[in-house]
Amino acid sequence: MKQIVGVADMKVSNNPGESIITYSLGSCIGLVIYDPAVKVGGILHYMLPDSSIDKQKAAARPYMFADSGIPRLFKTAYQLGAAKQRMKVYVAGGAEILDQQGFFNIGKRNYMALKKMFFKNKVMISAQDVGGNVNRTVRIEIATGDIYVKTSGSGEVKI
């Protein structure tokens, strides 16, 4: 079965019959985590770096923001038996428009927000496909932990 993660959404699974997918990331980030020992994996699709711009929206839709979504993704995986030290971490998305700079570059800011949190919490990124001007879709198979990235207009590639 295919579980679809919408925009500003998250899914975590330990069902080996499932794959989890999130479409069309653009400047958004698709954060994929997987613990191979217990075969628990999940994807978070967040849109913006920082929930401080609108606390009310962050309360209603915590998966919209990096700072409110990322901790929830990890905690939900822990509840299914995953452990931080075994976790594989993959990042996709964070694309930018040509000449998009500074604070307007939300793709880059989305990625930097994640890097900052990971640095603080000592989380390593196993692999990533971020930045550039392309639109990506990312998918994980729970049974194997295999991760595939598809760029609009091209085929799916295993990372």
């Binding site: 925009v7 653009g26 609108d54 500074g102 307007f104 392309v134 639109n135 207009g153």
Partner: protein, 282 residues
């Protein structure tokens, strides 16, 4: 290079956007029009009327009693919502297919177009701009040039990709260089042949703001911004991806800060269910 004659012939073969869209815009943007005037224009087209009523009766709007006429719909949802639904429905057939040359599967262009239109409405409301139905519609149909251009883009894919990836061209600049015309110019030509207003033709022509003197036109700037936001959100974005130019000076001119931009994205995230409902109109 493609001859203009060939393109005009191809445009004439397209399933056009129904004339009612142009009439509806003219009535909707006229200050003296009444609700009855607007309802009359919509009712004139049975396909659009049926589409609007079907969407009004979808679970999203949660109506207790079935909506059976445009008049009911106006009373229950308000005139603005009904105008938007009718404009969307009028574009759904033309924009519903696949555009393989742009790596867009069936429905991708429709997703991208509806997202752009919803974002354009948010931008227009946030900035208090005049002509919000025109802005909404322009954002919806701005990429229709791609419908005709896609097979030429497919034929020139190697050259276009090289220009974008290795020579710092935007996708639009690469189209122009490889084919002699880009999708914005062709879209404007289609709009003209389909007898849209000169205003609409102008917005479509300049929706990527390659001519920077157009920045002063707030309707064009708003549609441009909505297009940038739609690209960033990725919904229905094809192989051209985000390879278009971002212009800081547009944001300055519109008075849009990076925080405003984030707020518009957040609002869109909250309204995703509305967008999903609107997509069902195709």
């Amino acid at each position: 290079m493609i001859s203009l004659q060939t393109l005009v012939a191809e445009v004439k073969n397209l399933q056009p956007i129904p004339a009612v869209a142009g009439q509806l815009l003219a009535v909707a943007e006229h200050p003296d029009s009444s609700m009855a005037d607007i309802a009359r224009v919509i009712q004139y087209d049975p396909v659009i009327t049926a589409g609007v009523l079907r969407t009004c009766n979808s679970a999203y709007f949660g109506m207790k009693n079935p909506v059976e006429s445009i008049k009911d719909a106006v009373n229950l949802l308000g005139i603005d919502q009904v105008i938007e639904l009718a404009l969307l429905k009028s574009g759904s057939q033309a924009l519903g297919g696949s555009q393989k040359g742009y790596g867009m599967d069936e429905g991708d262009m429709w997703r991208y177009s509806v997202s752009s239109a919803v974002l354009a409405k948010q931008v227009a409301v946030r900035l208090g701009l005049k002509g919000k139905n025109t802005i909404f519609t322009a954002a919806l149909i701005k990429d229709m040039g791609k419908i005709v251009l896609e097979k030429y883009v497919a034929d020139a894919a190697k050259k276009i990709t090289d220009l974008v990836e290795n020579q710092h061209f935007s996708f639009q600049e690469a189209e122009k260089k490889a084919l002699g015309i880009d999708h914005a110019e062709l879209g404007a030509m289609i709009a003209k042949i389909w007898k849209f207003s000169p205003r609409m033709v102008n917005i479509i022509r300049h929706h990527h703001l390659s001519d920077e003197t157009k920045i002063a036109d707030k309707q064009i700037a708003a549609v441009y911004l909505a297009d940038c936001l739609s690209m960033m959100l990725g919904n229905g974005v094809g192989a051209d991806g985000l390879a278009y130019r971002f212009k800081d000076q547009v944001m300055k001119h519109l008075g849009i800060s990076a925080v405003d931009m984030s707020m518009i994205i957040a609002d869109f995230g909250i309204n995703m269910q509305e967008v999903e409902t609107l997509l069902q109109m195709a």
